[in-house]
Amino acid sequence: MSAPSGSLVSSVLREYGEATRTVLFEYLPSGEPRRYLYDLLGDYPRRGGRAFRPSLCIATARAMGAPAELALRTAASIELIHNAMLIHDDIEDESEQRRGQPALHVAHGVPIAINAGDMLSLVSLRPLLDNRAWLGPDVSLRILEETERMARESAEGQAFELGWRRDNVNDVTESDYLLMVLKKTCWLATIHPSRMGALIGSRGAFDLDRCIRFGFFLGAAFQIQDDLLNLEGDAAAYGKELAGDIREGKRTLMLIGLIAKASPGERARLHAMLGQTREQRSDEDVAWVLDRMRFYGCLEYARQVANGLGGAAQHEFQELYGSLPDSRDKRFLEALPVWVIERN
């Protein structure tokens, strides 16, 4: 990625992230019970984050000619839902860290964290209801419908992943994985923000299904790069425990590749290890899996697939937004496929 594109993405993310967080915090209740509920709602948002999702929404709306103001509430809602899902994901995945600090359930206990996640999901609806004053009832209702669909797709994707781990399913194919990623990651991370931006920017005139392909390739490249960073990223920058995905038994592209390439003996050991609980998997197990992944070139393979998906996202970008007039926001969207695979 050229330096100008990289700095453009960074500056847009910073600018739209700040604008989104300003609106987001206005929606966080401050009454009682603060200690057990409301003080916790702003915990994850205060820890930072790239604001990739809300920025994608705002930039798409602006690239189509809408002022950022019209997309801010929807962007804030997307970020609220994202944070709500992170709280529940961390519990489901038994993750210990989030954005460099203890996960919410680690700090406050599982029951309190689940309840906070539920409340954050509910709070995310308020800006969408307030959209009516800015966007009118028609577009506002469509955004609510779209949000319901996104939540459904995300839950289905999460169900795939959780089910595979619970039942120790080891014949997951690459296509299974990509469908899971489409639902679990892409809908919230890229497809939904793109669709919402296009809906707001076009006042409902744009065919939203056209956003699915761009969002899928961009989001899948994003997810694979995220999985790679989990294995070999910089611990401080990543903000989560390294190799946590192996410890959690997540069916990543690298693990699927390893299962396919491993010798019968290695496959048996892998199957036994994946059948254990998170606590039963030792540091040695995790190190062994990582070593075998490197040995069989699974990391490099995943990296190349992410590159290929990034290229496909660039192709889809031209199909989708190529005819839009040049703007800073259009250039930001165009730079995202490269950014997602080169971020660290």
């Binding site: 103001e69 669909r149 990509l178 005139a205 899928f216 080169e342």
Partner: protein, 240 residues
Amino acid sequence: MSEHGLRQRRTPPARVGPIRNARLGPVSTATAPVSCEAAEPVAEVCEALERGVRSAYAVIDDYMRRGRDAARGFQDATNRGGFVMEDKSNYGGFNPWGSMPPVADQWMAAVRAWANAWAQFVPGGIPPMWNPAAYGAGPTAAAMPAYPLTVQVISSRPTEVTATITPGCDAVALTVEPLLAQGFAASAIDGVTAVRSAGCLKLTVKVKPDQPEGAYRGTVRKTADGAAAGEVTVVITHAS
């Protein structure tokens, strides 16, 4: 065929498919870009890349196809009679029960148009910013929902009124200029008003009893900036 009788051939294109490799610019990381279009591509890596992208295209194509099939299947079921929502496919539908049947779709569209129209009069309703002139040229203006137009004519003689309002302009305050006689000398018809009321734009034309017969025409303008927003034509005929 050339003048020499030999078929001229174009140089084969270097590439026939979309670019699959996103690393098109300078690469800042340690990983070097891999190009399958190079003379001697790294076969293994290129194979992986191609296979991964092929899988991804197959997945998204299948996802989109299932959505279309679900919608088509539902429509067929509806056409056979009944609106029993048996199609609960989660691929590509806009609600958990698949696509809406056409009648329900129209009903929802009507309800939305009604709700949008009423929102103009609700405190905190759609502010002036929400108009097509404020942003978004091109398809957005054309996609503006059409507001109902009511015409009230107060006249003792047969009077035909034709009004054209630019799409989207019915959502803002309008002023109608006096209607001037077309091709004959007569006083203008003034006092024509265009007011949003009860969810629709209401045009009121009052014709004086002694107004000469003939055609009168006037421009509708946006009150805020005076830009043209349409036209009103009134034709007064003799009572039979």
